[in-house]
């Protein structure tokens, strides 16, 4: 699998002198990255709300603020998320936070967002269908919290493309649970793939999300199979198809585990770990629990697993196949 080359220069010297030198040497590049990022932001939200001039050229005003702040301000690399590279100059939220403070940033964005996000569809226009009781509403809220936590975990432990595939694959289910009309349009990411590729990626995303949601992803220290599985499929990975995971050869190098000495061993243990995880998730779905939260998780399980899950991971296992075929079909209105 091809590795992405790093698009951003590293910032190696964070002293005031080092930062000023960086701007002297790479000022055009830095300003261009800031300009591109602020321009995109300003197409949706007024920079004037953050104190930049509304007349004249607020984008240039914002760019020069960021450059001055970097050159003169108290910026500690340890407090910055992400790699210490020029990518920092593409992160508008960071610079607007430097301008007004992160608390004020959120307040301003809340105020601006009431005017409407470009992609916003007001959830209140379609009130939830079956939540006329406080208890049901509480279950839904709890489920939202769980899904949100898991989605953040999926991003941290894989990559952004998989989050997109999960959002698309689960849209019917979420629309039904939360009571809105799903758009039903094919996402751009999905359009770039053949139908078969899309289906494989979506099943991959659904399975990894489900495993995280059920909290069945093993601790890496349990066994070689757990270590290989986690290091490959539940670790932040390059946003690169087709596998969206860490290469077996890289896993073997990183783990320095005598049992996982090469790519072949890593691949074998990874598949073993996958089978165990799939078995656990199937077990949870098969042992259906009728408590309200569990019912929602159960239905999530039904839409998340299928024979395509096995195809996505090239697993040939008659027992797993039989169990997947035996699962009840999800309700028609949320079936994919």
């Amino acid at each position: 699998m091809a590795q992405q080359s790093e698009p951003y220069r590293r910032i190696t010297d964070w002293s005031l002198e080092g930062r000023r030198r960086l701007i002297e040497e790479h000022g055009d590049e830095i300003r261009f990255l800031l300009d591109e990022s602020f321009t995109t932001f300003a197409e949706c939200y007024p920079l004037g709300a953050f104190g930049f001039r509304e007349t004249d050229d607020p984008v240039t005003d914002a760019v020069e603020f960021a450059v001055r702040r970097f050159a003169e301000g108290d910026i500690e690399p340890g407090k910055i998320a992400g790699p210490p590279t020029l990518r920092l100059f593409t992160q508008v939220r960071f610079w607007l936070g430097q301008k007004v403070g992160s608390g004020a940033f959120h307040e301003i964005m809340r105020r601006l967002s009431r005017r409407g996000h470009p992609d916003q569809v007001d959830a209140l226009e379609h009130p939830p269908a079956d939540t006329d009781s406080a208890e049901q509403a509480a279950v839904i809220e709890s489920f939202v919290a769980d899904l949100g936590t898991t989605l953040g975990g999926l991003r941290r432990r894989t990559c952004a493309d998989l989050v997109g595939f999960w959002l698309h694959a689960s849209e019917k289910f979420r629309a039904r649970v939360f009571g809105w009309e799903e758009a039903g349009t094919l996402s751009r990411l999905a359009q770039e793939r053949s139908a078969k590729e899309r289906s494989l990626h979506e099943h991959d995303a659904l399975f990894r999300f489900l495993a995280l949601h059920y909290q069945y992803v093993p601790d890496a220290d349990e066994s070689p199979a757990s270590r290989a599985l986690v290091a490959s499929m539940f670790a932040s990975c390059p946003n690169l198809p087709p596998r969206y995971s860490i290469d077996d050869s890289v896993v073997a190098q990183r783990l320095r585990d005598p049992a996982i000495s090469n790519a072949r061993a890593a691949g074998r243990y990874r598949k073993q770990g996958l089978r165990t995880l799939l078995d656990a998730c199937l077990g949870r779905i098969e042992a259906r629990d009728d408590a309200p939260m569990e019912r929602l998780s159960h239905v999530l399980g039904l839409i998340s697993l299928g024979l395509t899950t096995l195809h996505a991971y090239r697993i040939e296992d008659d027992m797993l196949k039989a169990r997947l075929q035996a699962l009840p079909r999800p309700p028609a209105e949320i079936a994919r």
């Binding site: 698009p7 951003y8 932001f41 992609d119 959830a123 939202v144 989605l151 991003r155 959002l167 996402s187």
Partner: protein, 204 residues
Amino acid sequence: MSSRIPDLATLDDMILGDIEHDDPRHAEEAWQALVRTPGGVEAWEKALARRKRIDRIAALTRAHPWLAGVMLVLRRAGRRMKRAPLFAPTAVYPPVPALDAILDQTDDVARPHVQLAWGRIVELAVPMGEVVALEYPIDVEATIYYQSAQGEGRMRPGHHWRMEAGEAPVLLVLTIGGGGAGDLSAALSRAEACAGVVLVVAEP
């Protein structure tokens, strides 16, 4: 209970995987909003496309720093535009033969193309050896400039650009009202409108 899709800047930090580090409380709200609100799929996809685009451009400007400088000048010139022209030029390959274009006898085969945006720079991946044209209404007086690591200049009217080995990236800029300036910098300082396209080599 209402919820709103996270804003563009927050979505970008979610895509980058940075949001929990900076702001754990708002991170929780943002992920929940993405899950429960209609429009989340499209919002995420658009944010992802924006992030991938700026990463691509960053890689280009890192490898070719001269590109950053001229693109910055074009962006600032674009913001000085009082009004964008009503048409948008198109970068396309291969070009339609001139007579066919005049007689409106273009064939129906879709040619790879990208529409330029006034005051902005777009990208177009072109296979080696292909000829690229910037198409715009025949009655418009425009000047096209080129710039690459090898040099810069003004293209002769009707001239097209052939992608040759070792040249990419190549910046083509269409200006209106530049007064026929000899070089791109002078043209951008005087142009009433400008739009650019960066040509990169398409992967086989």
